[in-house]
């Protein structure tokens, strides 16, 4: 099953690009000119996204460097000590929505210090696989169309993250 999905995912992008250009050529589209015309939109989109990414990244890095992150993690750990969730898993749950690279670093740290076949690693792996770096997705997607009024999207996404983490701990 995993092998099969792996093969499909390796094949998917090349096959899709081949299909797109051959179909385009059959429909008498100048595929090279089309590609270049489309790609020209890229830099404008990135220019829109950049300031949002910048704002999010300095906030997240600053939050980690200031010690505020550790304080909140310890507070959460204290509040939920009755659940017996390891401190490292608590960090994972808070880090994952904020930063993908930090989450990966933490995950390898949990594997190395607690053990690759431990419960903590198992929960962390499920969080790694099932949660997304929410703030990055929000910055990129909303930034790409200059959305300033996000209505109730941010609380919904954060509530979704909380539910996801509870489920991850529960199924582990």
């Amino acid at each position: 099953m995993i092998e099969a999905v792996n093969h499909v995912s390796l094949l998917l992008i090349p096959a899709f690009i081949l299909f797109a250009v051959v179909y385009g050529a059959l429909k008498k589209v100048d595929v090279y000119d089309s590609f270049v015309a489309g790609a020209r939109e890229g830099p404008q989109i990135i220019l829109k996204i950049f300031p949002y990414l910048l704002a999010i990244f300095i906030a997240i890095k600053g939050f980690q460097a200031s010690g505020a992150f550790d304080f909140i993690r310890n507070a959460f750990h204290g509040m939920f000590s009755f659940t017996n969730v390891p401190l490292e898993v608590m960090s994972m749950a808070i880090v994952k929505p904020l930063s993908g690279s930090a989450a990966t670093a933490l995950f390898t740290d949990i594997i190395r210090t607690i053990g690759v076949d431990s419960t903590a690693t198992r929960i962390a792996a499920i969080i790694m696989g099932s949660a997304e770096t929410t703030f990055y997705v929000l910055a990129v997607y909303l930034g790409s169309v200059n959305i300033r009024n996000t209505r109730y999207l941010v609380p919904v996404c954060l509530a979704g993250d909380v539910v996801g983490i509870v489920i991850a701990i529960w199924v582990a």
Binding site: V21, L26, A37, A59, G67, T104, Y141, L142, V156, G160
Partner: protein, 191 residues
């Protein structure tokens, strides 16, 4: 986002003052700026590639045929999107790329989907319900096989790295459904 950002920045600075981490905080601002530039450059490459490929799909009309094909699947979630609209193709391709763990295709296609959804937006600058549904589906990160996690577990010699596949799938699907349920509940309340 204004409130989130304000709280994060001000709490960080106050904390840094009390914990003596002011120097680290200042350094982290510049590290954050550097990461934003690096990621933007990376995105510039892959987003441009996919904008080019999707333009071929548009010029050949394929994007409308893909939209037509997948309309029945997405029409219940995205009621205000017209039939055969290009956003349907971009969203479907984004979700497929996510399912197969192809992040480098998923993000640019997601951006493309946002551009197309914004074309339908009567109030520019304000997020539409369709955009929220799409973003919630993306933040739930539905994927069939978490290859990177399995790879990491395997490289550290886990007994059975593939054992995480089923729990991850269960967790990701239930959290996606829960997030959608929360979103639809919010719409009822704030309408």
């Amino acid at each position: 986002m204004n409130a989130v950002w304000l709280v994060m920045i001000s709490v960080s600075i106050v904390f840094a003052m009390f914990t003596g981490n002011l120097e680290a905080f200042t350094k982290s601002i510049f590290e954050g700026a550097k990461s934003a530039v690096e990621i933007s450059l990376f995105l510039l490459g892959i987003v441009s590639v996919w904008m080019g490929i999707t333009r071929i799909l548009e010029d050949s009309g394929l994007i409308y045929r893909i939209a037509h094909l997948f309309k029945p699947l997405v029409s219940r979630l995205f009621r205000n999107v017209p039939d055969d609209h290009p956003s349907i193709s971009a969203m479907t391709l984004n979700i497929l790329a996510n399912l197969f763990g192809l992040g480098n295709a998923a993000t640019p296609l997601g951006i493309k989907a946002m551009q197309e959804l914004d074309a339908l937006n009567p109030e520019k600058g304000t997020v539409t319900f369709e955009m929220m549904v799409f973003i919630v589906l993306n933040t739930a990160s539905i994927q069939l096989i978490p290859f990177s996690v399995i790879g990491l577990l395997a490289s550290y010699g886990a007994k059975n790295p593939a054992a995480v596949v089923l729990p991850v799938l269960v967790a990701t699907l239930t959290s996606a459904l829960a997030a959608l349920a929360i979103l639809f509940a919010f719409r009822k309340v704030f309408k």
